[in-house]
Symmetry: D2
Subunit: 327 residues, 4 copies
Amino acid sequence: MSGNSFGKIFKITTWGESHGSAIGVVIDGCPAGLQITEKEIQKELDRRKPGQSKLTTERKEADKVEILSGVFEGKTTGTPISLIVRNKNQRSKDYEKIKNLYRPGHADFTYEAKYGLRDYRGGGRASARETIGRVAACSIAKKLIPKVKITAKLIEPSLKEIEAIKKQNDSIGGIIECTIKNAPAGLGSPVFDKLDARLAQAMLSIPGVKGFEVGSGFKSAHMMGSVNNDEFISKKGKIVTVTNNAGGILGGISNGMDIVFRVAFKPTSSITKKQNTVDSKGKNKTIEVKGRHDPCIALRAVPIVEAMAALVLVDEYLIQKVLSCKS
Amino acid sequence: MSGNSFGKIFKITTWGESHGSAIGVVIDGCPAGLQITEKEIQKELDRRKPGQSKLTTERKEADKVEILSGVFEGKTTGTPISLIVRNKNQRSKDYEKIKNLYRPGHADFTYEAKYGLRDYRGGGRASARETIGRVAACSIAKKLIPKVKITAKLIEPSLKEIEAIKKQNDSIGGIIECTIKNAPAGLGSPVFDKLDARLAQAMLSIPGVKGFEVGSGFKSAHMMGSVNNDEFISKKGKIVTVTNNAGGILGGISNGMDIVFRVAFKPTSSITKKQNTVDSKGKNKTIEVKGRHDPCIALRAVPIVEAMAALVLVDEYLIQKVLSCKS
Amino acid sequence: MSGNSFGKIFKITTWGESHGSAIGVVIDGCPAGLQITEKEIQKELDRRKPGQSKLTTERKEADKVEILSGVFEGKTTGTPISLIVRNKNQRSKDYEKIKNLYRPGHADFTYEAKYGLRDYRGGGRASARETIGRVAACSIAKKLIPKVKITAKLIEPSLKEIEAIKKQNDSIGGIIECTIKNAPAGLGSPVFDKLDARLAQAMLSIPGVKGFEVGSGFKSAHMMGSVNNDEFISKKGKIVTVTNNAGGILGGISNGMDIVFRVAFKPTSSITKKQNTVDSKGKNKTIEVKGRHDPCIALRAVPIVEAMAALVLVDEYLIQKVLSCKS
Amino acid sequence: MSGNSFGKIFKITTWGESHGSAIGVVIDGCPAGLQITEKEIQKELDRRKPGQSKLTTERKEADKVEILSGVFEGKTTGTPISLIVRNKNQRSKDYEKIKNLYRPGHADFTYEAKYGLRDYRGGGRASARETIGRVAACSIAKKLIPKVKITAKLIEPSLKEIEAIKKQNDSIGGIIECTIKNAPAGLGSPVFDKLDARLAQAMLSIPGVKGFEVGSGFKSAHMMGSVNNDEFISKKGKIVTVTNNAGGILGGISNGMDIVFRVAFKPTSSITKKQNTVDSKGKNKTIEVKGRHDPCIALRAVPIVEAMAALVLVDEYLIQKVLSCKS
């Protein structure tokens, strides 16, 4: 109920703050008997960790994962899998000076409005470091649907544009497109838990996301039904659609075509330019956000988009498994 | 788990098929002591019912609501509120002829892939008639947040364009913009249940929705941080932002500014033009979808967008009430 | 969250008050393709309905069930199954006179303490009529586990004792024992959702239940480990236990032996003898509870115990189905 | 859904195996602003840890708790609180020899039936060490209801009896009675989540529990309504009952009287006496369970009964807070 869990059968709960002692995730509902090693999880984590290129933040973190439970002799046991990553390279002092200021575009003001207090170090719970737990969980989830291929990529802006923006000490937004191949028809639930509705929630739960569209998306608003409808055709004994304006989902349920969606990210809120703001007493101030930041958060979000997509798919895959079962 | 419920504290479960004997909703988690009458619920339902103008379907339904439980002497009792609307003006025979054909753009094929069988009459569970329960529930939910004003409107296409499309026996998509005024700061939860993540799920759960964006949305992908960040300013003792690119939400939590989001609808899938499709045996066929349909589903979705937004807000309002409480 | 739902996959939500216009249940999460008719459901309901013998209440109700959704051409469709029973033979006037008095042993006082108001007619939501929805739901649930046999019976008091008590215008408690045969090993979840923990909740949720024990139960408190432990033995290629003090459950998970538990009911609270009580203003009063009541509620609870046991078993059966699945 | 979580608003998820690297709990849904220190949590843990007297197991564990998240500058922040205890004094070798044998009374056989494999070291997930997380969580929960006093005590057998049993290398069961003082009227939910139904589930979730009764419990089965009903009386402006056969709960909701319930524990399953059993291949064998064990698990369960009672009460207290709220 408190927002830190995702999934109905394959359920994850993430915990931890950016500059606390550790970040982690508990996975509950993973079937027993899956082979998994710390090394495999680490490999996924390494894809998201900072400091990999000159276009991402220079904060360097080992982000070394440890399996604390739920795996025995290399296999999942059906009990909760607890994964932990110790925080190491925090520079909390960067935040001491601005602890009474609300950074524009950040959650400082709203967390304080909600909870009456906040962990001001590096965004606390609202930091993108929280997504470590999601990516770690996804590395296990994906093993349940080995044939399904989930590929996200940044389609805007170009890496050249990002470089230019970085030199201006500014930041820029971006769009990630994600394609899911080989998902069987029948995934997703009616009404409120439509596959695209869950994907939308999953994507908007990623820090910095401002928009989601599936298939022809916002463009479909200007299209006519006779153009937008995907006609069915029988092809080599399989029912497919000629076009894919639906993005692989009809009535909230996958139709066996590629699932295609796009996610819009806003520009990184932390910029070194001086900005106007207020302090916790409501006095007008200016702020310069120091620290080490990404010029384009969308760039680093690629594995996170894939992770969230995988979590939705695996969950609906397990739901379908049970609800299509006859006694 | 099966997708027919929405909400964590103020929880609704809708049931019913388009051409079954009735449609309904059970509301569980409504605080006791709220005044409510069938007349008030009916008023909201009348806003969504078909047959109101020449631009909507000609199917005429009384859609008369009955309160079956949870209300005593005009007040909610804290127990489940069961609301029912009998279906009356069904013309199931329209569907007999096409029961083995998958209508393009509809959920016929996917429901059958998922469940192995389907109620082929009028879309069954996937019909927009299902939203009756949501609108009815919302009429009660809104009483818990009387100061909050939720207003949705169709911003594209113009009604003239819709008229033109109707004459061509075709259909068109549309975009609805929704503005929420007077929502207090602090609504929404961290991480997975961000206010905009829940709104995204809520909107994508409406039949025909293909996209969602909040604040500057997809446009923010092309913006620089220095432009997109909303600076804070103190104004008459209240902390506000100068611009509202965030759409009233920071880090998934409302900041007290107007909450603004847009929802993209695809064109109505039911069109009278002949289309290619396949039957349930995989044979190529053509189909002409008779029946009475809206040229632009977005037009009739306005009260449904408002209803889903209200359900999210009320739920997060109740969550905030309990989680901000000190003993 | 509000207490009116039961089950995780096979989930039911009951609604309705004793003297409202109807009582019902929504079943969400029933797999598609099960054959079910109103007649079969009615048969189960007839087992619990009042007025069947001289030892039960004389209130006569047709308790005629109607399927409103989720079943098409005699089969479940995977969508919510809504069942309704109209209330008919209410005599609400019996309750008018005592609407300001708290009946001893009843929930009048506590519902008012909780909700600030209450439907005083016949116990409102706390009435045993609420269990109609449970029994109706169970008639469908049982179809998922056709081999499992659930049999409850009143083991105390004798029917003669009940007759004697009735003549005294008094009431008496009772104990029901329930035996579940042919449940496979492996049902139940670790830690909080142990099979016996869920059965305990299920049984204590039945009106008037004051105790639950499984296997040797309270007696085991006086036993030594060497006596109470059930030794394993291999018998015709199957692993069984020599004794069954565990009542078929070890560590919260079924072991393949008969599941055996007992449920203690208090005597009917409604008795015609004059009792001391207070009114809603806190004034001391006396009360004589008129109306038509059972001398022993345990007697009529037999099908309800079976129904709740079935709901737990089916739910854990479906959970086991998905969590033991390998990709 | 997988059984490792408890609570609806104040929700805990425990993880960890007896002989894994650590044991822990994530608390999600704790209101912000509560003062809490590791020292306070440690104090509660020390009450349950082994090795405190000659009547408990000799396994010595530091059981040192660490707060990993959700607490900042000594106060809860409203985000998930992650607590961890490293396992240290494991003697896994004790279990190597019996890893293919099913210990009578233990969950070895059933976990393997359920999951297809098991962590055989010390009971794995079914070990009572899992309850560390519950006790730790409870130390925080209790701060939300400071006036409520929860006191459990072993009422059977006497400590002398336990000593005698220990000398025989055998074990014995026991009964714990728990009394909750100062709980306000109005806690608990209707129908399935009655306060006593949730307490029953909570208690049966404790390893070794075989029975639960509230108020007059099983005795009420032999009582007449005229005796068992608790008459109301007005006393110093407060409505109370003259007797308390109900155990403080009517219709599943607290009535302001002491809440009284009893919990039956079976004797410790691990005994050093030789027992018959089978191995994982179904061959008949004998087993002698070495290791360090409690002669009476009920003795050490006292703080766990209190912890589970506190978790139920806090959860229903928060639910009541929100559902009794008017806008």
